[in-house]
Structures are given as structure tokens and as C-alpha cells.
Amino acid sequence: MKKSNNNRRSAKKLPAGERLKKDLHRNWQLYLLLIPGIVSLILFKLGPLGGMVIAFEDFSAFKGIFGSEWVGLEHFIQMFQDPYMLKLISNTVILAILSVVCVFPIPVLFSLFLNEVKWKKIRNSVQSMSFLPYFISAAVMVSIMYTILSPSSGIVNVLINKLGGEPVNFMAKPEWFRPIYVFLQIWQTFGYTAIIYIAAIAGIDPALYEAAEVDGANRWQKMWHVTLPGISTSVITMLIINIGNIFTVDTDRILLMYNASNASTADVIQTYVYRIAFESPGFPNYSYGTAVNLVKSILAFALVIIANKLADKYAETRLF
């Protein structure tokens, strides 16, 4: 142990360049395997970020990024002067907050309770079935919802009818848009997201449970005092990632659920940008769409930084 500490101290004394060289020499196979990931990250994640510059241009696909006319903050000014933007932001934020508040805890709870199922076969079957909806497309999920909630033949309205009520066209009610959206989000993602927590639970030292049992803890107490703290790092990490995606609503799902009746709650930044950039009868305005998305990304980035700081301060865990 002493020798090891001495070695670490002598390694620290080496200059950074030397240390890196030594490390590269020692672990070259690992670094080699890292190259594809780095290349992919640069090409498909970092590189395209440069394209955001079109938010400051009047972008023309023919002239390209370097040839298009530079217009500075024109699109951003236009965006902040747009009287409709306030409503779009409000709809987007409400939907996103609901998604985080309602959707986020479900997989955590699910994994905690699934962990308590004694029979392995049942546990595995439930887990497999729970993440199946993740692989079903948004179009299919929404049409299932339309069928279930159909005012004439949907099972929900048939029940309402049987109970003496009047049928409700849930898919056309502005007040029902958000609950249905959140329900679909939970249905589609909870099983898949739970895999992360289930994996984290599997990594908890069994000795901790044994010690808790010796101390007389019941199952609820073990769940609360052993399992939950054991996965808290994963939970906080996922929470920070979720906050980063707070403005990223599922555009496909919204477009499929969107109609004239629920537009007052369903119209969000993404649907508006989609109309301007891709459904425009005139010349497509990609620059304005990018400007709106850039502002959205900056706000999301700021939220991630804040959430990371808060997590570090109050839970002594952070993402970066």
C-alpha cells in the first residue's frame, strides 16, 4: 500500500505531456477503440453544431452556409417581436414541465417495486413487456389512443355511456391534450428508462441488505434506506439529462394529436417551426426555424448547468 502511494506521488511529479505519453503507450488499445466514438462525436454531434450559424443568415441551400447573406440578429429580433411566441413558449414549457414531473418518477418507482418481486421469471417477463411499447412508433401509439378514446366506439366512451354519461371526444379537448400526451409518454418510455435503474439496483452490494435485515429493517425500509440511496446517482444523472431536454417535446406525437380543437394547448415551438420551415407555401425559412431552436437550446443548456450545480450542492452528485 505504501509502495503504491509512492508510485502515485512520483507519477504526479511528471509533466502532463509525459504522463499522457506514458498513458498512451500503456493503454494504446483502449485509446484506439476510442477513436471511432470520437470520430462519430465530431462528425455527427459537434460538426453539425456549426450549421447553427444559419440562424444569423438568410440561408440559401444553393449558396450554402459560407455564401448566404449575413443578417445578424434579425431572426432573433423577429422571434421576440412575434406576438404568438409567448403562447408557444408557454405551451412548450407547461408540456415539458408536466413531462418531467409526471414521467420522470414512474420508471424509478417501477424499478423499485419490480426489484421487490421475488419470482425471477415474473420479474423478467414484466420487465420485457414494459419496454416493448418503446419500440412501437408514435403513429401507432397515437392511433391506438384514437381508437380507445373514440367518441362513438372507443372503450372509454362506451363505459361512460354505460354509466349514463355523454361521450367525450378526448382527442379534441384542449384540456385533455396534455394529460393524454403525458400518458403516452409514460406508456412508451417508462419500461425502457427503468432498465437504467434496474441495472443500478443490480449493482448494490447485497451485504447492505443483509446488514439492514440484521438491524431489523422491513422491505419498505430496505427499499427506502438501501435501494433508493443506492441508485440516487443514476436518478440525479437522469434528472439532469431530463431537465436538459425540457424544451424537447415529441414533435411527431404532437403533430399526430394536433387538431383545430386542441391547438390552443397543442401548438408548441416545434410545431410552429415545422410549419414555417417545412410547410411554408413560400420559400422555406430554415434560418428563422434555426434561430428559434438555438434560443431553445441555450435555455436548456442553462437549465442543465443550474440543475448540475444544485445536484452538486444538495445531493453531492453531479453529471460533469
Binding site: A61, P83, P151, S261, D267, Y272, I276, G282, F283
Partner: protein, 534 residues
């Protein structure tokens, strides 16, 4: 150890190659290359063929046309189509992508705005000088139609894209004549909106008493299509503009500031409250399939939709589901004074379905494109595209009039992909003038009669073709993206009762729309009208 190192090396190499495999690009830059390799270059040598980017569905339909094969034979020019997406909006997006990646074929289908903007930047050929050289008949048509010339020519006199002529038609009111008779309704007596509402009430009372899913009036997409019946369609003329005219010249055309607009929504609310109109349709959740099922299964009796839909129901299961099934077409409705309530109709020229030529093409390829299009502006070409081949698809009577000898139903019911005579002009095949008489005649007797009866000038509102500048189009597109959705949402909320319909709320709604940009839209439209015609 060596094996492990070798495996790491190979794995890393494969993964890196995989990562960059999708990053291929066209080193040429410009707009040539890619799919045009077999077109521009080949055509450069022979000029007997060129490549063209086209919406895949339109290409599929072209492949079925007998007369198109004859045209290729007559001109000696073959078009090699490069399939785009199935959806039209995606097709235009792919034009942008192809321009950006330099993979645009020799010619392309695009929006007129794309042709004008990219053309002025150098992506498309200015066809004006070449028309004189290679397309004298097309040029004669342009000169004879100054509104067409104004529409396709940009502010510098260049023509970067050519648009097709479109048939003039409006939506028609289809109804189940058998159900009307059974319910004791005299269709000929349905003259006004009030008569229409009464007919719906009679139908509801008769068929709805045992069927809770029966709503006499149904449809697809937006139900906000009855404004013209109340004199509340959007417009633009020398006195100004009302409502959103740009993009909504025919369908979903309304002007909430018109005198009849309140009455329109009030009437629709009555229909909704009394169960005379399918509530899902009003609420925006009645898909095309739902509507078709309702009409075929007897859960609806009346619609106001595309001109040939009455025939569609007759030949797509109506009589099979009910032997008495008989779909007919009502006259357009009248006001209290017996004057027809004029309806909106399609425009003669539209900004969609424009043809532009890649600037990277050599002159021989440009000539091939224009010579091919020019053929359709000759007498021979016009006859071929509108009537087909004499003796095979039509015959000429002694008085010089023509009649189809090919049977509409037989030809149009052929399986997809099978060759046929077809003269439907509601899509892009080539730029060509439309013979309205031929267009109306190429239908079953039911629709041909209805079209000839209803599609007369006296029944149509004035729908001028307006030339917008690129800047105006950009402003309008941005404003409409917010205003139109809000208008539809607000009007629907009035009809379904989410917002109480009273004068105070109505005025507040109009003010809100103005604040969102409706009045600005109207100003831009009026200005564009003045620029076009004054």
C-alpha cells in the same frame, strides 16, 4: 496478446470506417452530379433525354398514361424521372437538400418561389432567352397570357420556372338521393342555407332516431369550408383584402371580418348542437377513412368536398353496401333573393408544381427540356394531352366537337401501374394548357353533368392569381403560421361551445387575430394585388 491487439486494431478500423461511411459528398459543389450523371452528361451528347426530379406518386401516374408515351414518341425525347418522396411537401424539402448537396438532376419539380430565389442565385437556368429559341409555341402562349407571363417572370425579367395550367373547379355538395327520397326531402327544393339546414334536420329525425352515430353532414380534414355560403370567403381585389387569401384561395377560405362570418359560425354551431354535422369532423378528428366509412355505411348522407367525390362513393362500395345507394350533386345554394352564393374555386396557375432547369445543364439539355414542353403547346400536343389519340380515345363529330370514346370508369378503374387513357389534370405531368371542356367531360355522366351545371362563371367568386415578391411570401408564410392556426382554433371553439358565441367574444376574437397579424396579412395581400394589376 498479439491476437487481442490485432482484434483491437481491426475493430477500431471497422468502426471508424463505419462512422465516416455516411459522410460521402459531391466534390463538384454546384448543382450537377448525383442523379444527373445519366441525364446531363448523356443528354449533353444526344439531347434526346434528360433527367427530372419528381414526386414519386406523380411519376407513378405518368408511367400509366398512354398519351404520355405517344408524346415521348412524337418528340423523340425521353424523360428519366428521379423519384422524390411521396408527400408533396417532402418533395420540395428534398429539392433544397439536392441543391445543397449538388445532386439535382437536369430538371426538377419545385415551388415557383424556389425557382425564383435559387434561380436568381444561379441554381436554375433563366429560360426566357431559350424559350424564343427552342419553344416558340410555349412563348406564344406566354405572350398571349400576360397574367401567366407576370406570374412566372421575376422582377428582372427572368423566367426560372414554368408552371402548369390547372383546371378550374370547386367543391360540390354530394348527397344520398335515395335517403333524401326516403326521408321525404325534395332535393330540388333545397335552395338556401335554411333549406339545407331543414333537410339535415329531416334526415337526422328519420335516420338518427335509431342510430346514435348518424350525423347527416360529414367530411374530412377541416370543416371550416362553408364560409362562401355566407359571403364570408377570403378575398383580395382593388378595394383591399379580407381574410387569408394567400394559400387559401379555394379550400378553407374565410374572412372573419366579413358581414356573414358571424352567421356562418352561428349556423355551424346550430348544426353541431343539433347533431346535424359530425362532431368529430368539426373538432378536427374525422380522418378521410372515417368520413368514407360514414358515407358508405349510411352514417352520413351529405358532404361538401372534391368535385368528383360523389362518383367515388358510387364506384367504391356505395351500391355494394346498399343496392339503393344513389349519390347525386346538389346545385350551389342561393341567398334569400335567389342569387347563387358564389363559391371559391381552384386557381388557373399555382405556385406548386413548377418545372425548373438545373443551371449546370448544357444548352442541348435545356433545348431538350423546352422542346419536350413546347410540344404540349402545339395544337397536336394539346389535343393529345387533353383528348388522347383520335380513334383510340376520342372521336370528332361532324360539327367539330370531340367526345371521348374511351370509357372513364373502365380506364380509371384499371389496376395501379397498368397503362390507361386518363386526362385528370389535378397533378403535375408536364406544363400544359388545360382544355376545361375535356377536363369536365373526362368523368362519369354524374360528374360531367354536375360540372357543366355548376362550374359556370356566374357561380364562381373572383379568384385572381396574385404575384407576390419573395419578401412578401416570407412575411405571409410566417404570419399565416400563427394566424391561420389561431383562427381555426378560435372558430372551432365557438362552434363546439368551448367559447360562448356572442358579439362581445366575437369582436374580442377578431381583435386578437388582428393583433396576431391578420390585418398585416390583409395589407400585404392588397399591396401584392396592386402590384400585380395596377
Amino acid at each position: 496478446m498479439r491476437k487481442r491487439r490485432a482484434a483491437a486494431l481491426i475493430l477500431a478500423a471497422v468502426m471508424t470506417a463505419g462512422s465516416i461511411a455516411g459522410c460521402g459528398g459531391n466534390a463538384d459543389g454546384g448543382t450537377s452530379g448525383g442523379d444527373s450523371a445519366g441525364g446531363t452528361e448523356t443528354a449533353g451528347g444526344s439531347a434526346d433525354s434528360y433527367t427530372m426530379f419528381m414526386r414519386s406518386q406523380y411519376h407513378d401516374w405518368i408511367e400509366e398514361l398512354n398519351w404520355y408515351d405517344v408524346a415521348e414518341e412524337k418528340t423523340g425525347i425521353t424523360v428519366e424521372y428521379v423519384d422524390g418522396p411521396e408527400e408533396i411537401a417532402d418533395t420540395y424539402t428534398e429539392v433544397d437538400q439536392r441543391i445543397a448537396s449538388g445532386t439535382l438532376p437536369d430538371a426538377t419539380m419545385c415551388k415557383l418561389s424556389q425557382a425564383k430565389v435559387y434561380g436568381s442565385q444561379g441554381a436554375f437556368v433563366d429560360l426566357a432567352p431559350y424559350l424564343e429559341k427552342y419553344a416558340p409555341n410555349y412563348l406564344a402562349y406566354i405572350e398571349a397570357n400576360p397574367d401567366y407571363a407576370a406570374y412566372v417572370t421575376d422582377e428582372n425579367g427572368a423566367i426560372y420556372g414554368l408552371v402548369k395550367e390547372s383546371p378550374i373547379f370547386a367543391d360540390l355538395i354530394g348527397y344520398r338521393a335515395d335517403q333524401f327520397a326516403e326521408a321525404g326531402i325534395d332535393a330540388a327544393a333545397v335552395k338556401t342555407v335554411d333549406d339545407f339546414t331543414e333537410a339535415l334536420r329531416s334526415l337526422k329525425a328519420y335516420y338518427g332516431k335509431d342510430n346514435p352515430n348518424y350525423y347527416p353532414l360529414s367530411g374530412r380534414e377541416s370543416a371550416l369550408r362553408f364560409a362562401a355560403w355566407f359571403g364570408a370567403a377570403s378575398y383580395v381585389d382593388e378595394n383591399g383584402s379580407g381574410g387569408i387569401y394567400y394559400r387559401y384561395e379555394k379550400d378553407n377560405s374565410f374572412n372573419i371580418k366579413a358581414e356573414g362570418a358571424y352567421k356562418w359560425i352561428e349556423t355551424m354551431k346550430t348544426w353541431y348542437d343539433e347533431g346535424l354535422i359530425n362532431p368529430s369532423w368539426v373538432e378536427g378528428t374525422n380522418g378521410e377513412g372515417d368520413w368514407e366509412s360514414q358515407m358508405l355505411e349510411g352514417n352520413a348522407s351529405v358532404f361538401y368536398d372534391y368535385y368528383n367525390r360523389a362518383e367515388w362513393f358510387m364506384s367504391n362500395g356505395g351500391p355494394e353496401s346498399d343496392p339503393d345507394y344513389d349519390m347525386q350533386v346538389l346545385d350551389f345554394l342561393q341567398d334569400e333573393n335567389g342569387n347563387v352564393m358564389k363559391v371559391t374555386h381552384s386557381l388557373l396557375y399555382g405556385s406548386d408544381c413548377c418545372i425548373a432547369v438545373n443551371a449546370a445543364c448544357d444548352e442541348e439539355t435545356i433545348a431538350a427540356v423546352l422542346k419536350f414542353l413546347d410540344f404540349f403547346y402545339t395544337e397536336e400536343g394539346m389535343t393529345l394531352a387533353n383528348w388522347g389519340v383520335e380513334g383510340e380515345s376520342f372521336a370528332t363529330a361532324e360539327d367539330g366537337s370531340r367526345q371521348y370514346t374511351a370509357d372513364y370508369t373502365t380506364e380509371e378503374s384499371k389496376a395501379a401501374g397498368e397503362k390507361r387513357w386518363s386526362f385528370l389534370s389535378d397533378r403535375l405531368t408536364v406544363c400544359k394548357p388545360v382544355d376545361q371542356e375535356a377536363f369536365y367531360s373526362w368523368n362519369t355522366d354524374l360528374i360531367a353533368e354536375a360540372a357543366n351545371r355548376c362550374f359556370v362563371d356566374e357561380n364562381f367568386l373572383d379568384r385572381p392569381v396574385i404575384v407576390y415578391t419573395t419578401e412578401q411570401e416570407e412575411q405571409l408564410s410566417n404570419l399565416i403560421a400563427a394566424v391561420y392556426e389561431s383562427e381555426c382554433s378560435g372558430l372551432t371553439n365557438f362552434i363546439v361551445g368551448n367559447t360562448e358565441l356572442n358579439e362581445e367574444n366575437w369582436n374580442a376574437f377578431v381583435e386578437e387575430m388582428d393583433a396576431l397579424g391578420l390585418s398585416q396579412i390583409e395589407e400585404i395581400q392588397a399591396e401584392a394585388y396592386r402590384n400585380t394589376f395596377q
